[in-house]
């Protein structure tokens, strides 16, 4: 297998160039997909036979929850890449992805709470999924706080990577224990997102929204990483030239 692309990806300059080319496409597809998905979900999907129209919240809640979890896993993967192959871009990715993941968790929690009101009659229910989401938010807070507390940026990236790896090992254990805890204390309540087979008009918007959210994540992550790369590489000639070009354009 040819690994040159992998090492090239580690070069900040190459990353900056290629990400600049991808960014417009990602942004456009994110905006389109989310718009189409939202319209389809809000207006065209049939109402749920049990929950009526409140089930339409699923089209944000589930993609956000999905993204929140996979972002955490990608933090750990980027962390491993950064620790093992000493790739600087991975270090940048760990710290820039964490806040986005935390925001996604917030969306999932808020929409879950709002959804809970018509479904369970309470804003917050200690449901296994919501509780696991809440713990995920705490895990994100830990990573963000650690990254901010360590002033040396290389140490900060490595420390966050280790914490993310420890956290990722913990996630399945947390999930299992929270599920068990739930059955121990309030056996067999029905969970909001567990559905019998959905008709196509119902799951298609969900699929579109999920892909849209992933594109959104990628676009925002690239935006954040590009700034950080410019900042970190401010001593190199290409970064200085790029900053000068940008200043000239905005002036």
């Amino acid at each position: 297998m040819n690994w040159t692309w992998f090492h090239k990806l580690g070069s900040p300059k190459w990353f900056y160039e290629i990400s600049g080319r991808w960014l417009p496409w990602l942004s456009i597809s994110a905006a389109l997909l989310i718009l189409v998905g939202a319209v389809m979900g809000l207006a065209f999907a049939p109402p749920d036979y049990q929950q009526g129209n409140s089930f339409r919240i699923i089209y944000i809640h589930v993609p956000a929850a999905f993204l929140a979890q996979s972002t955490y896993i990608s933090l750990a993967i980027a962390g491993i890449v950064g620790l093992v192959w000493k790739m600087k871009i991975a270090d940048v990715a760990v710290q820039q992805a964490a806040p986005i993941g935390a925001w996604m968790t917030v969306i999932a929690l808020l929409t879950g709470a709002v959804w809970g009101k018509p479904t369970w009659g309470a804003w917050w229910v200690w449901d296994a999924r919501l509780t696991a989401m809440l713990i995920l938010l705490f895990l994100y807070f830990g990573i963000i706080a650690l990254g901010h507390a360590i002033t040396n940026r290389d140490s900060a990236a490595k420390a966050c990577a280790i914490l993310a790896i420890v956290g990722v090992v913990n996630i399945p254990i947390i999930k299992y224990s929270v599920d068990w805890w739930n059955t121990l204390h309030q056996p067999a309540t029905f969970t909001i997102t567990e559905k019998p087979a959905m008709p196509m008009e119902m799951w298609l918007p969900l699929l579109i929204m999920t892909i849209g959210f992933y594109c959104f994540f990628a676009a925002v992550l690239l935006m954040r990483m590009r700034i950080e790369v410019l900042r970190r590489e401010s001593r190199t000639r290409w970064a200085q030239a790029e900053v000068a070009r940008q200043i000239g354009r905005s002036a």
Binding site: T151, N152, D154, R235
Partner: protein
């Protein structure tokens, strides 16, 4: 040119967005004594920590026997004696307990050897005194007593002369020079002007190489 034991290749160090030094090339061979000098904040301690593998360079590399320090961790660890600003002395432990633990981190030392080393640094009779009751200079001597044990070849010492009295300074200078004459290597920082210099003495002024 013979192969250097320890060598830096275009070494750069950056701390908190500030470049301390870059493109630093230093070679240390058996028998060498290298004094790192420079004003405060010029990166003396950072350089020593880079050489002992405690820190990672921002650019460039440290080579041990021609290979990157990353691959030579074991080789370096077996041959390195590192004394930092804080030398790992526990106030609650006695001089002997401290020393025997620090020695155990390397080859270990017998009780007699430890007592002898403590006597060598002028701490006879203080073997079983908790270190927090000793003066700063005496505590420093406990740490330096490691140099009188069966010590590894490469010594990296950060400010070894701090808090020592005149006589102890002279004695330590002699001891360092002796170590180099026997084929050892010493890299150290100090603001003190060395009197007893072996033929292989060199000085690296980071104040001049820095930006």
């Amino acid at each position: 040119m013979t192969e250097a034991y320890l060598e830096t290749v275009d070494l750069a160090c950056e701390r908190d967005w500030r470049l301390l030094f870059e493109r630093l090339n230093v070679r240390v061979q058996p028998g060498d004594m290298l004094q790192v000098s420079g004003p405060n904040g010029s990166g003396k301690t950072s350089l020593l920590r880079l050489l002992s593998g405690l820190m990672h360079p921002s650019a460039g590399d440290v080579l041990i026997k021609g290979e990157s320090i990353q691959q030579q961790r074991g080789e370096l660890a077996r041959n390195l004696l590192w004394l930092g600003h804080a030398a790992g002395i526990k106030g609650l432990l006695t001089a002997e307990e401290n020393l025997s633990w620090l020695a155990a981190l390397h080859h270990g030392a017998s009780r007699e050897q430890i007592w002898q080393a403590l006597a060598d640094v002028g701490l006879k009779g203080f073997e079983d005194v908790p270190c927090h009751t000793l003066s700063a200079g005496q505590q420093r001597r406990v740490a330096l007593a490691r140099l009188y044990l069966d010590a590894p070849a490469l010594w990296i010492l950060d400010e070894p002369f701090t808090a020592l009295d005149k006589q102890a300074v002279t004695q330590l200078e002699r001891h360092l020079a002796q170590h180099c004459e026997q084929g050892g290597m010493v890299i150290f920082t100090t603001h003190h002007h060395l009197q007893d210099r072996p033929a292989t003495f060199r000085e690296l002024d980071l104040g001049q190489t820095a930006l």
